[in-house]
Assembly symmetry: C2
Homo-oligomer: 510 residues x 2
Amino acid sequence: MRPGRSQSRTQRRSQTGSSIKQLPFAPVSNPFKPMELISDDQVAMIHHTSLEVLQGIGIEVQNDRALDLFKNAGADVDDKRVRLDADLVEQLIRGLPSEFTVHARNPEKTLKVGGNQMVFATVSGPAFVSDIENGRRSGSMEKVREFVKLSHSLNIFHHEGGAGVEPLDLPESSRHLDMMFAQLTLTDKGWQPCWLNSRKRARDCIEMAKISMQMSDEELYANPALIAGINTNSPLLLDDGQADGLIEMAIAGQPVHVTPFTLAGAMSPVTVGGSLVQQNAEALAGIVLARLANSEARVFYGHFTSNVDMRTGSPAFGTPEYAQSVVISGQLARYYGIPIRSSNTTASSVVDAQATYESDMSIMACVQGHVNVMMHGGGWLEGGLTCSFEKLILDAELLQMQAAFLKPVNLDRSELGIEAMATVGAGGHFFGAEHTMERYQDAFYSPLLSDWSNFENWQDKGSKTATERANGIWKQLLKEYEKPPIDPAVEEELAAYVDKRKEEIARTGE
Amino acid sequence: MRPGRSQSRTQRRSQTGSSIKQLPFAPVSNPFKPMELISDDQVAMIHHTSLEVLQGIGIEVQNDRALDLFKNAGADVDDKRVRLDADLVEQLIRGLPSEFTVHARNPEKTLKVGGNQMVFATVSGPAFVSDIENGRRSGSMEKVREFVKLSHSLNIFHHEGGAGVEPLDLPESSRHLDMMFAQLTLTDKGWQPCWLNSRKRARDCIEMAKISMQMSDEELYANPALIAGINTNSPLLLDDGQADGLIEMAIAGQPVHVTPFTLAGAMSPVTVGGSLVQQNAEALAGIVLARLANSEARVFYGHFTSNVDMRTGSPAFGTPEYAQSVVISGQLARYYGIPIRSSNTTASSVVDAQATYESDMSIMACVQGHVNVMMHGGGWLEGGLTCSFEKLILDAELLQMQAAFLKPVNLDRSELGIEAMATVGAGGHFFGAEHTMERYQDAFYSPLLSDWSNFENWQDKGSKTATERANGIWKQLLKEYEKPPIDPAVEEELAAYVDKRKEEIARTGE
């Protein structure tokens, strides 16, 4: 049996034993040249103009540890306003790590971040959850667990991106612990916490990662086991909690991206160019801070620039401007020699054609622009306010199709079927050709969601739209979910940590 | 007023006076490097292997004029099997025109085909027509007229691609005349006939083009005014009518593409590589024939390679393999220095997420692969069996978004808003900034179909999906349609030609 075929056979069975056909868990790499929308000179211009912003306007930093780090490095700190000399920034962004390995509880799911590798992660952050039967409603812990199970079951997602939805039925002060417990026990994939808004919460992430991996601080430092991220409060502000989260992750050696929230026209200038200059200034400020906290920090570039609808002020996503800013941000990240994160986004309120084309625009830009970590890769709806279970399935299909597109075409002589052409002859067909029979089972990408039946057969099956079929798929996946093995002692230790911290939070408030 | 802004203002009004907001009619060019999926050596290998096929296996040609042309050129003609020496092919594909201008009745809609230009054309060929209220039914002349009006009204479509749907309520023998009459009178855009399946019909296209443009044969030869295409009957067969159509167009100097119908696994080998070798062999055979008919022929490369679902034999479209074959075909066309056509395709039976992502996959590949003529750009559904009015609107949005994505980002200093950043300050917003006020009306792409309202406003407007909104848009466009000016004498002359030919067909059968 040829090596290429044994992998393809696996394709027809999920690795989790499900009856749903999907691609196997595998790293996705983009072997093709990244798209470039602007010249090298223009990339350098954005860099230098953002240095001018950091030096002339500066950034407000609302965190004392951060202000001290900036002061000690020789920055101009006036109350909370930090102005960074261009030379200081240039010096601090030199020699940043260009890639890192992110370890997963299951070593087969450990991944490289950087170069031409792409990591697809599921959504995090929404307050609402939706499916087409029950509509849109507040997130709950039950839905968090279901989402993490689905995130585990869908092989195309490399990372559990943040538990999908906020469990609004649990107390705000401690629900991050329950979410992490779900992420660390219901899947063995790598993961991304989404609560770096205080020093304590950042420490919770690190402590629970240590327990999950059974590692010491030093071991986790050497073998990072999560991907974290912070947002600047654009324009030009870094708040207390985000700064603390960034510093904690930098010190702990965990990969952390700095992602400005630059919605052009609202939180940044009304142009793609201006928003990218501001994004770059804010990203560099955060990267410099991480470096000041730890010169070995694994810190990388965050993209989230989109635009607002100027008639209403509503944020728009997956727009042409969004796609342009993704590709140019990829050029900026490569200028700095560091990985980049972006997202799979849409503003649509429903899993329809719009949700699909806005996501596809985002994904196309991420793929063509060589984005390394695609956050919100599965399940994001309605500008990130809603986590949709049908959208998760749709996104899995969109990403599987990209992964299949990026697989090099085999042009070996034996694959070309020249003899088959001679045998079949003019006007014949290849269905029965030996060349076909040897390959037909795994010849082409086999879809998760698409229905290629003819119209009559499609009608006979109930005339279902892709969104309606997605509903059946996630339910089937949930039904067939199997919890990945976990040492009961580790699970107990995680539970004990959650209990201890909940008790502490009840007592001290944090 | 700056030049850039006056164009943007136009963006808010349709050029046809409609209340529907859309981009103005404008050529679309792709200023970025084409994507490359295979190496230059591999491109040359596909070329040489296809020459080997033409020399060793050959192609069956069911047309006497074509067989004579091949014979006279020194090809090995055995009954209807034509075997072409590699040197002969190499010699005949040298110096092919790399671009041509296609004139439209309205000179503002004259377009260049070739280089980095993209021409978007609407669908042709479906037997069924559909909209979400009336469902799927047989095509009719009434629907042809409505479709051509919409094709005219949507600025993003540069060309009327073939009247949308077959008018099955009219006699098969003469309905092509009614379709062309609609194309030549209801829009002033360039056009593409879809009935090159006999010498007489090809001549009808040319004669009606001459009347429409009020040109002699010589003038039309010098100033081509339509884009034609033929299909080979894959595998390796060129039938009588298609060969005649190709020869007529070559002689008349009208741009014509040769498009093999290579559905991998059925009409070509079960691999992308093998299907591309066969596609290339068939395309070269047609290109060589056009050149033998007229050494100045404006002939170009046709891509239609996709794959079938190997479980059912159903054709699949907009698949990862389809996208790979588009991009590689672009590489092949550039190897020959000629323009290339491809298509915007989907196998979905309904205008849903699947229709959207399969179309998006096709469009992404066409854009990244520098396809020059995108046929079936608007309205194609269900593997080309159905012309959907809602899909036409959806496709217009997908293509508008690509056009906006391809517009170079303005990075002039004045656009960056550095002063606005200083004024707005940390944590503020840009809504009221002077830099914003000067630009906000035309700052961003304004969608045709997307709804960026928040959830509550979207609900208040009736919780409509994009497909439901598309229904409202095409109806509004039809209501507001204005027939472009046409000299009544020209319209009469066209009508008289149609009458004369119908009488002739009734009498002689063709």
